[in-house]
Assembly symmetry: C2
């Protein structure tokens, strides 16, 4: 990944070189910019679970690097023993978060690489897995740029674009999915502005999306999630673009909690609702979105802000971290292989077959 860091201003949440993984602590942004070092797979698993790193493509990349750190430390000369232990490590990493499918996609790719090379020595396997993890990261950023080129035609000049959560550079290896499309539109000379939902409870919009758009000097306005409907009713939103954590074969989209609400509002106001996500987010094994597992996170994310109590003691809480937007509310799905519209089942299957 160090190989593609040409632009010093470009945000990339994961660094990987000289056998060390560094991750930007996304819980502390924007007030503090803190990088942590990760030297073993257990620490990477914990960072994914605790949301030091978040965003479907980014946790895929982090998991691949975590898997390599695990692989590096396996002490055996037997490729078979190595593979058994490597599989155990991947199983542990995939269990860190249930909704985003990119996590299992990246780990499956790592396992497939190892399995296809079981005739090699353990040393060769370890070196090969390092290159594979690097490739996953580099390809992710390249995919986002392709996605941007496919999607930017959907963004009109002058558009006031609503986005929810963070589907930006911070949610990927770099450049971003939804924000990548916006970046490409800006690079094409379009004057756009972005309205950002703060995205409770983790505030990815308020803390992360604003931060990276501000760095890129793209005009940005922060609102409460509650204000999106009001702004639409006032004619102040021209389109919506979000990322995704998992897309079922029929084009139903799991994404950050609140996305479904935005989609319903967009339909009510006849505003196009776009999803930008790489092929690795598409899960053809699930026929529709009702089969996507929805993570429920800790009540404390809602009842407290840092150590400040927001709600009474012992209050019951529901904290689903994602919701599912049915395909009928999705105007188009933007991928690195093109834009799917209308017949999602056919289009998405074709895109996935291109690999």
């Amino acid at each position: 990944m160090s190989g593609c860091q040409m632009d010093a201003n470009t945000v990339r949440p994961i660094r990987f070189f000289n056998g060390t993984c560094q991750m930007l602590d996304q819980r502390l942004l924007p007030a503090e910019v803190v990088w942590h070092n990760y030297k073993d797979y257990q620490a990477v698993a914990e960072a994914i679970r605790n949301m030091v790193v978040r965003g479907a493509p980014a946790i895929g990349v982090a998991a691949a690097i975590g898997a390599w750190l695990g692989a590096r430390d396996i002490e055996t000369e037997s490729s078979e023993e190595f593979f058994a232990e490597f599989t155990r490590i991947c199983d542990l990493l995939v269990a860190t978060r249930p909704t985003a499918v990119n996590l299992s996609w990246a780990l499956e790719r790592m396992k497939r690489f190892a399995h296809a090379n079981l005739d090699r020595t353990v040393l060769e396997l370890k070196i090969g897995l390092e290159f594979e993890a690097l490739a996953i990261a580099q390809e992710d950023e390249q995919r986002n740029k392709k996605m941007g080129r496919h999607g930017e035609g959907l963004i009109p000049d002058g558009a006031r674009i609503l986005t929810h959560c963070n589907a930006g550079a911070l949610a990927t290896a770099g450049y971003g999915t939804a924000l990548g499309v916006i970046r490409t539109a800006v690079a094409a000379g379009k004057k756009v502005s972005v309205i950002v939902d703060e995205t409770r409870p983790f505030l990815q919009g308020a803390r992360l999306t604003t931060w990276e758009l501000q760095k890129d000097k793209i005009p940005v306005t922060l609102i409460c999630d509650n204000a999106a409907g009001y702004l639409m009713s006032q004619g102040e939103i021209d389109c919506v673009i979000v990322g995704a954590d998992r897309i079922s074969a029929n084009g139903d989209v799991a994404n950050k909690i609140g996305t479904y609400t935005v989609a319903v509002l967009a339909k009510e106001h006849n505003i196009p609702f776009y999803v930008a996500a790489p092929i690795s987010t598409i899960d053809l094994s699930l026929s529709d979105g009702s089969q996507i597992p929805i993570e429920e996170r800790d009540a404390r994310e809602i009842t407290h802000f840092k150590d400040v109590q927001l709600a009474p003691e012992e209050i019951a809480v529901r904290n689903p971290a994602f919701d599912v937007t049915p395909n009928r509310l999705v105007t188009a799905i933007i991928t690195e292989h093109g834009v799917a519209q209308g017949s999602y089942r056919k289009n998405l299957a074709e895109f996935v077959s291109k690999g």
Copy 2:
């Protein structure tokens, strides 16, 4: 108001006796229960502006008491001079917050009382205005109980009820509007549970609605505003009930920001959406909701939590404090004079004519 404090457990946010006004600081709940003393109208105006007291009926009551504190301190023997000064004080109080019409309703009533009694001495006017302010407070609680009796028939046994913001005892002189209807349903023996939107940015749901329902042992579950759509899509919400800050002649409802979003979601899921509000919230002078002024509050409510920075420095923010739900999304409006359904313009005008 002390006269109707029979139940020690009953929440009432404003106390008024012996010429002193006390208000519960709603910014500090639920972590701290702090009462402040208010000895002049300027301090009451500041408390309304800063949201020590909030909720359309409650700020009407607070303003009436503030007006009396102002009246008490006017130094003149001339009733005409007294009335001119009293009008100036009321004008200052009415300007504290623009959206809730109950504020001007209460102050108009105080002015009307003074104007109708200009033949009295200034001392008599002052005493009369104190009784008038007390009556406004006491009648508010009585109205809420009537509203509860009219509305509770709409709540099925076993209902899982979503509410947004706080339309409870804390938003009124006592008992609450939307929560008053729920309290009446519970008193009628119905087993209901309440799902509470946290209601960013001020967190009235997380901090206040949970607190007062927990005190009443009514089952309550807190969610992020973002999760309301998800729970509806999962069939976990049976009806919605909210309060109102101003209702135009055609039944369009201004209420806390995010209410419109909940109403759109309710329509999408065929869930009834009820509004509970006293006649004092209805503004027949406005033909429809587009004429209701929407307060925009300080960016800091969104960019900071207490002193903790949530968003980057110098970020642009939109912070509308209210939105307008069009009448077509409102299943019924519950008032102290009955339930309006269908032809709001006719029904609401009839209710208002009953006074």
